[in-house]
Amino acid sequence: MATLRKQKRQKSSRIVRNTSVLAAASMLAACGGSNTSTVPTAPPASPPVPPLSVMIKGIVTAAAFTPGSSTEPMVTGGYYQGATVCIDANANGKCDSNENPVTTDANGAFTLAVAAAGPIIADIGTMAVNTANGATNPTRNVFRALLDQVNEQTDAVIVSPLSSEVARLTEANGSDYQTEKQNLATRLGVELGQVMTDVNTQTGVVQASMLRESNILSGRFAYAITKLDRADLYPDALAVPGGDPEITGMAGVTAATATVADTRKPITFAQAEQASFNVEGIPRYDHIFIVMLENKATLSLLNSPFAPKINAYLHAGNMLTSYYATGNPSEPNYTALGAGDDFGITDDSQWNCDATGPNAPQDLPLPTNDQPGLASSPFAATCTQAAAVNHNIVGRPNLFNAISAAGMTWRTYSESLNPGQDLRTDSVADPAVIAQDHVYQPGTVGGNTAVVGDPNLVLPLPAALYKTKHHPGMAYQNVRSAPEFKFSNRTMGGSQWEDALKNSTMYAIPAGYDFDQFGSDLVSGDVGNLNFVVPDQCDDMHGISVKGTDVATAVTVTASDCSSVANNVPNATGGAIITRGDNYVDSVVKKIEASPLWNNPQKKVAIVLMFDEGNATSGFNSCCGWNVSNSTVAHPLTQNADGSWSVDMTVNNYSNGNRGHGQSVWGLLSNQPSAPKASVDSDVYSHFSFVRTLQDMFQLADPMNDASYMNRSKYTEKFIAQNILNLPEYAGSADTHFDSVRPTNHAFAIPISYTQKQSADISTPAQVGPDPTQANIWALK
């Protein structure tokens, strides 16, 4: 209290205590969902007006994100002018007039006279101005400062997104101000004494870290207020335990899987703050690493003696066990992972194929071999195919643009690039880059009894270790044209040829070239929020022809471990390439797990191990937003001005896309010590579910607005039922739950007598009934 200016010392201590207690009580009540409008502040008859004995002075800080950076996100600091500040006595997330709010000045400053110190809020309305960019605030927002902070800070209580986050975390974790202040400082990598200060007074990396986080938090808290002001029901429909309650009894929905009554109530302020960090039950993560592997059905990987390390990770971490690919072959799957749709791409062709008219490439010049420095480029200037399917997706929303637009970062880490190559081209062979064959001792490849591999075999770098078809953003014009495209696409080491890449001759090696930016970024922390980790076509288990010469015999020999095996190879048969991929995955996971990021438990970090596609020789090709087998009626939807939807007939071959290619293993590792381990979610999910999950994780979409979910990731059971005339591929469904998208949050409980649908990619009998637990694989604790 010594830090507060006390103008009058009167008999106010009792009131101070009461006010605090009441505020806290109402806060707690709010968590239970009760209406907070009847806070018993005083007898109703003639409320005594307590003397305004305490002056709280402070400032409300702001962050403003400017899109378009070609490097890190550009966030500047400032203040909110015209925000109101008060003690939110009724905890309704507003400065009501009877709470006697004061208004911030052009420097964000306020002086609040109150009867006693209390936790304060800044109610930032749409008239308020963010001085960082001079713009009026687009949607109402509220920042908070806890009483402990008010007490701690002198004449300047810094009300900021960071102070608000500390307040929120104390409630999320049942902890206190000092604990969460320290935790936030630890997470941001700043000093304890810095984290609650005016960000505008900080400099350098400390300021940059605080500003970037302030911008993200501002978005989260603004979203919380949007939910509150909209009176959203709590929790989100797709996070309700048991399943979406909105579809119970709904026409066009399979009744057997829509059984949950809707008992939700309008969200409270306190709930809204937590819910905005847990959209559809998917908690916010700071960093996610998605390790992409190739072409293996579940039965080929699960418990394979050729992949003991991946299996150890799968069983130690969490698994989705009914996870479906959405396309065939690679390119449509990666394209779907980038945005929740493949747009009718049904092959692995170059991204400019049949891209004409409005689809013509805009990132000119094309990276052809007549361009300076690209003499070795394999890129074909033109590509025309019989099916005339456009491979350059123009103007569609995608994860990359959405992440960047929110002031967050993405990375793709690609292995075995030719140093100096254009990322938009496949890598090429280089006879000057020579590696030894991998030699496996007995017992290291699926129980081999003889040595596998030839120690005398030298292998020149083959072509196509890096393929653009395996880049989840490559098909999207607005990704390749994004200012941060070059900055965000990075190298990854660990290649068989890594040590020899310095001898590369096909392109000029750029000065200061980092052959393993992935490793460097893990040390520096400069990884993205969203990271696609893309091994080369040997290390991802795809397989290509790699041949070299045995120096002892001068005979041409094929590399020991890069020959393809069938997508559904029996796990007893396996193949050396599976072990190769297993070893690579192990090295990537170990590298991440050794990083400062991973070992900072205040940072929420996850690793996903997944495959682009399985095999699906029989049974179901896909689920969950799929284009139901052999339908020819699927088209994308476009939203009309009045909110209704129409069919978009402009995408040639669209109805051949999104048909799926079976099931693969899908594992999640988390750095959170208290997170659930070894939990298994067998609900059906697809790449579209995962894209929806990522949108929730990074708060890129709003469950109350279907259109905010990109492309087919919006195809929830409710959305399909409401738009069935525009989505005729789903007509006559025998199981609308199976056909539709949901986030991977395990909220849906499988009915007791329900038999799982599955493809031939799973060799075990179909599960009947619910999972042993409904644990959410993403849960932080």
């Binding site: 026409a251 139901v628 020819t632 109805s655």
Partner: protein, 447 residues
């Protein structure tokens, strides 16, 4: 947003499934459940006219639809191994009529075609006709028009003259230009292209309206019976039926799936069919990809090594239960017999291939199967296994399951139950399926 019940949609769609071809032989309005039916292009409209035009044959009695009957999945309407054709409809053909259904994803022939499963070793595949010698449906269309034992036109000019005189010549001009008939080659090519357009555009050539499609599409009415599900397992299991190895049912090229063919060519040693007139000449051997109809893979000299000899295309198995002739030479006449050939070609070759030098028994042992092509039991003699392929090419015979060259007298890969179940499953591939309500509770394919 309009909310509409799924039940309404599906009942409307099901109601539309009843349509069938009219008596005038016009295009069948085939069952369409969740398939689009956009209007035919002008070229396709011309193609439809041509397809049903008997005047385009020398006999005046044969159209494309005569052999490729829309009421029989665009396959033969009868059980004749080969159909009669020519000027007087008395000249027998050389091969069984294939179905024209589900050809829309077939690529041109290549010696090393990538398998649609994306992983099998590339091999001979693609193309049209039993030997793949036509690259496109348009090319294929020209074959019967000019074949002496089919529509028997003297040449392209003959066909074009008939088109010019047809009732739809105006439509033809509208589609391809006023002066299209001035150039015989161009006009013939346009006619072929029109037939292709018709087959690609008209959904009756690819209706995907079988029970299997309901099953694979997660649709009401698609729940398989236990027998059908067991049959699917037999079909897929590489250790039992292994049918799906060539009759690929997974996801394939260009978004296709469940075509029940991988477009590949294999030599499986189908017995010679003495009922084909050309086969009366012992020197005549139809060896598929290596000739004689196809001419680009012929042995360099008679009996010279050539890996393509004996290879014929893998047909789709969609609608297979409706066929009455099987394999390229139509020697087999029921689905069950075709499956039994696969099952016992190696274990009981004596019931599929002729015996030379043996003594026929008056009546066979009770255990001697009667489902083969040879129902007479012989004592002694030699079974002429692979009697329709010169001995030098027997090494071309594929050895995949279930034709894994196991010893005569050993156990066949499939049990009687497997065979019964497999037939049940294959019957789910018949288009025009209408789920009955309530579901049948008895019959061979229920439990």
């Amino acid at each position: 947003m309009r909310a509409v019940t799924l039940a309404t949609i599906s009942s409307l769609a099901l109601a539309a499934c009843g349509g069938r071809s009219g008596s005038d032989g016009a295009s069948p309005e085939a069952a369409v459940k969740f398939r689009a039916t956009p209007p035919l292009s002008l070229a396709a409209q011309v193609g439809r006219k041509i397809f049903f035009d008997k005047a385009l044959s020398a006999s005046g009695k044969m159209s494309c639809a005569t052999c490729h009957d829309p009421n029989h999945a665009y396959g033969p309407p009868n059980d004749l191994a080969v159909q009669p054709g020519g000027r007087d409809l008395t000249t027998p053909g050389l091969r069984a009529v294939p179905s024209l259904r589900y050809k829309e994803y077939t690529p041109a022939y290549a010696d090393l075609l990538d398998n649609p499963d994306g992983i099998s070793v590339p091999g001979p595949g693609g193309g049209f006709t039993w030997d793949g010698r036509a690259d496109t449906l348009a090319q294929q269309a020209g074959v019967p028009l000019l074949s002496a034992f089919e529509m028997a036109n003297a040449g392209a000019a003959d066909v074009v003259a008939k088109l010019r005189a047809s009732a739809y010549s105006k439509l033809f001009r509208q589609a391809f230009g006023d002066d299209v008939f001035n150039d015989t080659t161009a006009a013939f090519n346009e006619a072929s292209a029109a037939l292709q357009a018709y087959q690609l555009e008209d959904s009756s050539f690819h209706p995907y309206s079988s029970k299997f499609d309901l099953y694979a599409g997660n649709k009401i009415g698609g729940a398989m019976t236990p027998a059908e599900a067991r049959g699917l397992a037999v079909f897929s299991n590489p250790k039992i039926g292994n049918c799906s190895s060539c009759h690929y049912q997974g996801a394939g090229r260009n978004g296709s799936s469940a075509l029940f063919t991988d477009f590949s060519y294999e030599a499986i040693g189908v017995p010679r069919n003495a009922r084909i007139r050309a086969n009366l000449d012992a020197a005549y051997v139809d060896m598929g990809v290596c000739g004689p109809l196809r001419t680009d893979h012929n042995p360099a000299s008679p009996a010279a090594p050539e890996v393509h000899c004996g290879m014929f295309g893998t047909p789709t198995l969609r609608n297979v239960a409706t066929r009455k002739v099987f394999f390229h030479n139509g020697v087999i006449h029921s689905l069950e017999q075709a499956i039994r050939f696969y099952n016992t070609r190696d274990t009981n070759p004596e019931i599929w291939y002729p015996n030379v030098g043996g003594m026929p028994r008056g009546s066979p042992d009770p255990s001697f199967p009667q489902y083969g092509l040879v129902t007479t039991q012989y004592d002694g003699g030699t079974v002429q296994k692979f009697d329709d392929l010169p001995a030098g090419y027997h090494s071309n015979i594929d050895t995949q399951m279930p034709l894994d060259a196991r010893a005569a007298g050993s156990s066949p890969p499939m049990t009687e139950q497997n065979i019964a179940d497999l037939i049940c499953f294959l019957s789910t591939l018949t288009d025009g399926y209408k789920p009955s309500a309530p579901s049948p509770i008895s019959g061979p394919c229920v439990n």
